[in-house]
Symmetry: C2
Subunit: 130 residues, 2 copies
DNA sequence: GCAAGTAGGACTTTTTTAGTCCTATATAAC
DNA sequence: GTTATATAGGACTAAAAAAGTCCTACTTGC
């Protein structure tokens, strides 16, 4: 469907929230304000932390904060942190192996297309979402 | 997952096949040569015909042929003909209505991203797949 | 100690995509 | 005019992916 997953959508919303307030926020705050499932967002935040986009502090008065400036976080990176695959076809994936590989006639051109898509996704950052 | 569906992938392969040979071909020929399910490809060809990309002739010695020159068929068009939705998020769709619309804070920027994606998809044509 | 947080495993449900099966209709060749 | 070879298309099933839920553990400031 050529669509960003809800995970990425919610991730972007959360990062925008943090960039906007410039402060630490809890998952509960963000999920409430943006009508996002708490449990789902909690996982997303964990993944973003694992990727180094966020830091966290546990316990009372804990929460998540940005590790990077908004202009240093391209949409690209959020996609990479939150989705298993981000290639536009199986044959442009580095991890999967395409079932039609032996007869695939579009591999080369698809790689070019993929590169251009990545170019677009890396040119937009969280700073542009504000 | 930000991935083109198999329908689009197969559609591109089929169009490439027709452009390469410059002749009419049957679904069977194309599906055999490219290891694509016959039934699935048959539906795809019908959709591409409905969209005006292909013409067909029924009966013995029938088949499908290109209605347009390869350089007149952008990937964009193939996506449009073969997929229900092609927007990157729910909020950039014209037909769906986003469940989080009232609180959505990324609608504007997402539209810009969407436009850039479409730009890329419309800049590559079947002629470039040869 | 307790309330407010993150960490994360396991699971269910829903949605989408891919693929299959079957029947009808058109037509060129014989 | 019958037959073999095509497209046309409805209805269905299966598989995969995404979304969402539930539960428990661990951390930490007060």
């Amino acid at each position: 469907m050529l669509r960003l997953s809800k995970r990425v959508e919610y991730g972007l919303v959360a990062l925008q929230h943090l960039a906007k307030t410039g402060d630490v926020a809890t998952v509960r705050e963000i999920s409430d304000e943006n009508s996002i499932s708490y449990d789902l967002l909690a996982k997303i935040m964990q993944d973003l932390k694992r990727d180094g986009v966020l830091y966290s502090s546990q316990g009372v008065r804990g929460g998540y904060g940005l590790m990077l400036a908004p202009q240093e976080i391209p949409v690209n990176r959020v996609v990479g942190a939150l989705e298993e695959q981000s290639s536009i076809t199986e044959c442009t994936s580095e991890t999967e192996c395409c079932s039609r590989e032996a007869v695939c006639t579009i591999k080369g051109p698809m790689h070019k297309l993929q590169e251009q898509m990545e170019q677009v996704l890396s040119s937009v950052t969280i700073a542009q979402l504000l």
